[in-house]
């Protein structure tokens, strides 16, 4: 482990030590630090120096994870995450996550739906000017059972439905978009151990791009949090 930058650092967790990615490049074969005897993935030979993605610590229970997450948060890391098989209650606070703005955008989408539905119905059933919508179209106000052409009460059900439809589509699309999904490839998927993140294990991953990340220091730090294993994940 020939990491010049760690030698330079003497304090335990310096406020900010910026590393360029070139320096991280020199971190080859970091995978030797894995402790668990059952894992064999770290023994595969690295043909050439690869870039370190981050360090992954594994925990057995949500309680252990939560305690560890609070410490990682307090240590001032920014590019880090917890990976859990289910949403752990209170972990957002333990990680210091800010509330998502998603609901506000959904509100906007819903309002758009209401407006679109109103205009659609008003145009097609109440107004009579030509408009280009793929082809030239006309509104068609016609009299039926004495109802006025602009019958707002009769338009309400469709306005309601499109409000819901637009909101729901926006909710799901924006949620996945903000989460950066779909993303079928991710460095973490290289780890066999990480497969249990969707089953019964809890992980903390600190990424190498974090300004405070120092391979050795960070590994030592993660070990103090009581994980069952710490593994280096390559990009």
């Amino acid at each position: 482990m020939d990491i010049t930058v760690t030698r330079r650092v003497t304090t335990k967790f310096p406020l900010c030590v910026r590393q360029s990615f070139d320096e991280i490049h020199t971190v080859s074969n970091m995978a030797t630090i894995v402790t668990s005897p059952t894992d064999t993935s770290q023994e595969r030979p690295a043909p050439k120096p690869t870039r370190l993605y981050g360090l992954m610590a594994e925990f057995e229970t949500p309680g252990d994870l939560m305690a560890a997450a609070e410490k990682v948060r307090d240590a001032g890391f920014r590019w880090w995450d917890c990976h859990t098989p289910f949403p752990v209650h209170g972990l957002d606070g333990a990680m210091g996550l800010k509330r998502t703005v998603l609901p506000w955008l959904v509100f906007g989408a819903g309002a758009t739906g209401t407006l679109v539905a109103f205009l659609l119905q008003a145009y097609t059933n109440s107004w009579n000017f030509p408009m280009w919508a793929g082809v030239w179209v006309h509104g068609y106000p016609f009299l039926i059972s004495g109802k006025p052409a602009m019958s707002l009460p009769a338009f309400i059900p469709v306005m309601f439905e499109l409000t819901i439809l637009f909101s729901a589509l926006a909710t799901v699309k924006l949620m996945f978009l903000f989460n950066g999904l779909p993303m079928l490839y991710h460095p973490l998927f290289k780890s066999n151990r990480f497969r249990r993140a969707s089953n019964d294990r809890f992980f903390i991953v600190i990424e190498a791009r974090d300004p405070k990340f120092l391979p050795k220091r960070t590994e030592e730090f993660l070990r103090t949090l009581g994980p069952t294993s710490v593994e280096a994940v390559e990009d």
């Binding site: 252990d64 995450d81 289910f86 209650h89 082809v135 006309h138 009769a154 059900p157 991710h186 969707s198």
Partner: protein, 484 residues
């Protein structure tokens, strides 16, 4: 996991229908680890072969599906005259089936959305396949208006698509509201179902042995990796979807009831219809969930996740909504008399004692009398009895729609325009065939998709609480520190 002794005892308890003050009844039995939940649910999808009963059921479902296909094909090439419709009874089995299937769907949304908002934790065991049931039921429902329009190749006229004919749908008609309500309902239910399933698809992807499963589940899992930053937005989104689906589900059957209530026909033109239809929909939907859950939990070994308590709770919902439906039946009669409207009074007396009296009394005995048996806990917790009763409710609710639709149309204001409706073999074949479509989809779902929301079930286990029993030696201490 040595600190779990208390919860372990709870977990081993075989009868979780007993309420003990100050204790939460366990919703997952005989399991103490998250891994056990994963293994139990995934076993269904990962098994080399499905249980023999699955193959038999699937063959039967495919048989019925082909009946549906044949009947629809015959209808399209010949015309709607192959049904027993006549003038005045222009709606009969087609719309009965439509309303029946839309109604079935409502329980899925009630479980997934309304019970979620009410923090009813027991929903986690049953929500996934109840939502699946919703989607498949809405597919069945959508088939019927699609084929009853006569010239099915013009079915796209239902939607406001810009066209060179300068022709638009009539937005002042409840039938068009229905198009929007049902298609929105289908889309939102599908989104809700799929969003809920993504973490579980990731589980199947991570456990996959073969390349095909890994890629297949992998694509639909969208690269989900359980990141808590993702979970944070995911939970918000899920809550929003629940909040959107709740008024939506109430609106859908209300709009379906507007198809009738906004008309002038005696027996249809009543203000009680929207709430009465919604209660009936939830009633029939829960009966269908019980009908499906009872064999599914036996067949796929899910008794520890869909426990007797879940079934007991569902039977209580059936009892409550059954009472509402019974109340609506009697209130309809009362209002018919109280209104003093001659035709209204006749319509209801004719329903009970006219030529369709047998349909009316099947409806009353199945929907009003049957659920009353669920007052008894012995019956609520008896698997064979609840299964039979749920079938009765399904039958009764089909007849409810038949009675409403056909009796009002057959005998309206003018005796000279009265006529009887008799179904043809195509009517019956289409009705039975729709069950084939439903069960084909449902059986495929059971085999290839996670039938129980694993990620959600894990959250209701005591071990999932980072402050509770599940917290290891570091957990509690660490958290305390974090707050000081």
């Amino acid at each position: 996991m040595t600190t779990l002794s208390h919860d372990s005892q709870l977990g081993q308890m075989s009868d979780n229908t007993v309420d003990r003050p100050g204790e939460r009844a366990p919703l997952v039995l005989n399991m103490n680890t998250f891994g056990q939940v994963t293994a139990t649910v995934c076993r269904v999808n990962e098994a080399e072969k499905a249980p023999t009963a699955w193959y038999i059921a699937f063959a039967g479902a495919l048989g019925l599906l082909s009946v549906l296909g044949a009947c629809i094909g015959y209808l399209i090439v010949t015309g709607v005259g192959v049904w027993g419709l006549n003038n005045p009874v222009m709606w009969a089995y087609d719309i009965t089936n439509f309303v029946f299937w839309v109604g079935i769907g409502h329980a899925g949304t009630l479980i997934s959305a309304i019970l979620f908002l009410f923090r009813q934790k027991w929903r986690t065991g049953i929500n996934r396949f109840a939502e699946a049931m919703t989607i498949f039921a809405v597919i069945c429902a959508g088939t019927f208006p699609g084929i009853h329009v006569g010239r099915v190749w013009f079915a796209y006229w239902l939607f406001p698509i810009p066209n060179q004919m300068e022709m638009w749908p009539q937005f002042r008609s409840p039938l068009l509201w229905d198009v929007f309500a049902v298609s929105t309902y289908f889309t939102v239910s599908l989104l809700f179902w799929y969003t809920g399933m993504v973490p579980d698809l990731a589980t199947l992807r991570d456990r996959a042995k073969g390349k095909l499963q890994q890629v297949g589940y992998g694509i639909f899992a969208l690269g989900w990796r359980g990141s808590n930053r993702h979970w944070h937005r995911y939970e918000r989104a899920y809550l929003i979807l629940a909040a959107l689906s709740t008024p939506l589900v109430l609106s859908v059957h209300s709009v379906v009831s507007f198809d009738f209530a906004t008309s002038q026909l005696p027996g249809w033109h009543t203000t009680i219809f929207p709430p009465y239809f919604v209660a009936g929909a939830i009633f029939s939907g829960f009966a269908m969930v019980v009908t499906l859950a009872v064999p599914a939990r036996e067949l796929f070994g899910l008794k520890d996740l869909i426990t007797l308590r879940h079934l007991d709770n569902m039977n209580k919902v059936i009892l409550v909504t059954g009472c509402m439906v019974g109340y609506a039946y009697s209130m309809e009669f009362f209002i018919a008399w109280y209104s003093g409207a001659m035709y209204e009074k006749f319509a209801f007396i004719n329903r009970a004692f006219g030529q369709y009296w047998w349909a009316y009394w099947i409806m009353v005995s199945c929907n009003v009398i049957t659920p009353q048996l669920f007052w008894f806990k012995k019956i609520r917790t008896s698997i064979p009895i609840m299964f039979v009763l749920s079938l009765f409710v399904n039958v009764g609710m089909w007849f409810e729609r038949f009675v409403i639709i056909v009796t009002s149309l057959a005998n309206d204001f003018l005796p000279t325009s009265w006529d009887m409706f008799t179904p043809t073999w195509v009517d019956i074949g289409t009705m039975v065939g729709a069950f084939g479509l439903f069960f084909t989809l449902f059986l495929l779902f059971c085999r290839y998709l996670p039938m129980i929301a694993m990620a959600e079930v894990k959250t209701v286990m005591p071990q999932a609480d980072p402050h509770g029993a599940g917290a290891g030696k570091h957990g509690h201490h660490g958290h305390e520190k974090g707050h000081h």
